[in-house]
């Protein structure tokens, strides 16, 4: 039986703004299946985003949704979660929103290890503003503001998250649609700050500038570069050249912020 997405979508808010071939819709469906699997309550789930194409996602889902300012999703979400710890708080956004203008909030949310899940749709570009290069655009690639090729090295979002202290870090791709919901569900269940990077595609502003002839070609690239972490263990460095690891990349148990702050409250009450 086909999965019923409509029960999670807001009536009358579709069609979405995403271009044909964009992977954001695939990610949204993955998120919906994950929430459905976990039987999350809509009234007790907040979906928080910044600005950009990916950040429009909350508007379509029938939960408590907060479309904030550019880059600020993690900081708004921290306020929501601290004020209502019993809520499930899920952040969504793009690579520019999360790692450039929102980079500081991102690393500090990782550091605090506050129990929220951040889904970053990495399509290597600022799509909504017409295709300027982001901190994730590969070196040498073309964007509307790198007509001679991008001189900047890019971020590895997963490594950044691990380095900053996130305690669950996973990576999937828009091609591997059936894996997305599983990664997100595992991330939501993890106690602590979890990051799920989904490699995505932007045919409109990235693909056409970088010699991808079609969406299918972009999707095939995601299929080709992705190597599950388990499989990678058996591969040589040479074989892994140009590949990107997918699956759960990192997981550890560490004190979670809400619980640590509860101890602060206990100490303060005892000192009174």
């Amino acid at each position: 039986m086909a999965f019923d997405y409509d029960k999670w979508l807001r009536p009358g808010k579709l069609p979405h703004i995403w271009c044909p071939g964009c992977g954001h819709g695939i990610v949204m469906k993955g998120l919906i299946r994950a929430m459905d699997t976990l039987k999350l309550k809509k009234e007790e789930t907040a979906i928080v985003s910044g600005i950009g194409c990916a950040s429009r996602l909350p508007g379509y889902i029938d939960c408590c949704t907060l479309h904030t300012a550019h880059g600020r999703a993690a900081a708004f979400a921290t306020g929501v979660k601290m004020a209502k710890p019993e809520m499930n708080v899920i952040l969504v956004g793009g690579d520019g929103d999360g790692t450039a203008i929102g980079g500081n909030h991102f690393i500090h949310a990782c550091r605090r290890n506050i129990n929220m899940t951040y889904i970053i749709m990495n399509n290597y570009i600022y799509g909504m503003t017409g295709g300027q290069f982001s901190p994730c655009t590969p070196t040498g690639h073309k964007a509307s503001t790198t007509p001679y090729g991008n001189p900047d090295p890019g971020f590895d979002i997963a490594k950044l998250a691990i380095g900053a202290g996130a305690t669950f870090v996973a990576r999937g791709t828009a091609f591997h649609a059936n894996q997305i919901d599983k990664l997100i569900a595992e991330a939501i269940q993890h106690k602590g700050f979890s990051v799920v990077e989904i490699l995505d595609d932007c045919p409109t502003t990235y693909g056409r500038r970088n010699k991808y002839k079609s969406v299918i070609e972009m999707m095939n690239r995601l299929k080709d570069v992705a190597v599950p972490v388990k499989a990678a263990e058996k591969m040589t460095a040479e074989q892994l050249q140009g590949k990107i690891l997918t699956g759960v990349l990192y997981k550890e148990e560490k004190p979670e912020y809400i619980e640590e702050y509860a101890k602060v409250i206990e100490r303060a009450k005892a000192a009174k």
Binding site: G59, A69, T78, M82, M87, H105, A268
Partner: protein
């Protein structure tokens, strides 16, 4: 029973005022000269289960209080000049998304790092014009430690009543000086609760104007689910670019404050009945002004003072009336003429507006004001 008294700094009084008003969430970032607010609340808030967050930057602190407010908390952040500049985008977000919050900003020298430990009054225009776009502005300027306490409570009340960010802006002198404060008993000062929805969740719209210009605001996690955005929005909270809706919503947001000026604007009139010269002053400068007015009266000069307690909305009506009565207006302020522009606008050329402007980190002393009072012919 005698009331509890203490000898407190303005910033400390602000923190206790917030607690009286029911503040249960604070997020901030360290900055001179407002850090004492954070220090007091980091100790006091968790005692009653409240939350104190020191965020990674000024913007994050503003974002966190907006998020917490949407989740039902009564929220405060504190900052000073450079931090206020950084918070401005999200103050605008609070205005358009109509999220109650209080921003406590201690005015120090500027622009930029300026004089971090020196007083100024140069953020008053920033309180209204700092964030882009048309939006409502409420800004209170206390002049004593006791008043800082009381005005922080009033700021919470106004932010809840009008569902909009409210600023409290003491200058560094008021923020750092210490005076005796008498604490009100619980229940003695009114604390305004947030207007919550009366309709069931399925009928709820976060900007439903059938309830008036200030629609009820539900909290995330209270059984209501709704959408909040910084885009121009419709009554259901979802974005729109429909011209007539955008126009009507923008006008309503400004109107909810403008139509209630008499409820919001507060001021003090001192020896104005027969005054020939009026000193208009606010914050610590008003204390010098009162001193100077008293000396002028002893010398037979009919001077008086109009003390601005609510800077925004500006007391246009009162200043216009004064301009028709007196021979001159003296405005001492620790900036290069900001309030003075507003006074000139209200005076409409009927009387001269004589400014005393200091930005050297020194307070304006009563002698300077007295000398200017004597210039009015």
């Amino acid at each position: 029973m005698s009331k509890k008294v203490a000898f407190l700094q303005g910033n400390e009084a602000a923190a206790y005022g917030a607690l009286y008003a029911g503040c249960d969430f604070f997020a901030g970032y360290p900055i001179t000269p407002s850090t004492e607010v954070s220090e007091v609340l980091s100790a006091e808030l968790p005692k009653t289960g409240g939350k104190f967050l020191q965020m990674e930057d000024e913007i994050a602190a503003m974002a966190a209080i907006l998020g917490a407010s949407l989740a039902g908390a009564k929220v405060l952040t504190s900052t000073s000049g450079p931090g206020l500049s950084l918070k401005q985008e999200l103050i605008g977000y609070g205005c358009i998304a109509e999220i109650p919050c209080v921003v406590y900003n201690v005015m120090r020298g500027g622009p930029s790092t300026g004089m971090p430990t020196g007083p100024s009054q140069s953020d008053v225009m920033c309180a209204k014009w700092g964030t882009h776009g048309d939006h409502p502005a409420i800004c209170l300027v206390p002049a004593s430690v006791q008043e800082t306490y009381e005005e922080v409570i009033r700021a919470f009340n106004l932010s809840e009543k009008y569902r909009t960010p409210v600023m409290v802006m003491p200058d560094e002198i008021v923020a750092h000086m210490r005076e005796r404060i008498v604490f009100p008993e619980p229940g003695e000062v009114e604390v305004v609760p947030r207007k919550s929805p009366t309709v069931p969740p399925e009928q709820y719209k976060p900007y439903d104007t059938s309830f008036g210009d200030v629609p009820p605001l539900a909290a995330f996690g209270s059984g209501y689910k709704f959408h909040v955005t910084g885009l121009n929005k419709m009554q259901d909270g979802f974005p729109t670019t429909k011209a007539e809706i955008v126009q009507a919503e923008e006008e309503r947001q400004v109107r909810k404050v403008d139509a209630n000026i008499d409820d919001i604007v507060t001021f003090e009139e001192y020896l104005l009945d027969d005054a020939d010269v009026v000193v208009v002053a606010y914050g610590s400068t008003s204390r010098s002004a009162r001193y100077a007015v008293n000396v002028a009266r002893e010398q037979g000069i009919k001077a008086g003072m109009f003390r601005i307690k609510t800077f925004w909305p500006f007391p246009d009506k009162q200043i216009k009336a004064l301009a028709g009565k007196v021979k001159g207006i003296v405005i001492p302020e620790m900036n290069l003429g900001m309030c003075s522009l507003e006074l000139e606008r209200c005076a409409q050329g009927k009387v001269p507006v004589l400014g005393i402007f200091r930005v050297d980190g020194e307070p304006i002393n009563p002698d300077q004001i007295l000398a200017k009072i004597k210039e009015v012919k």
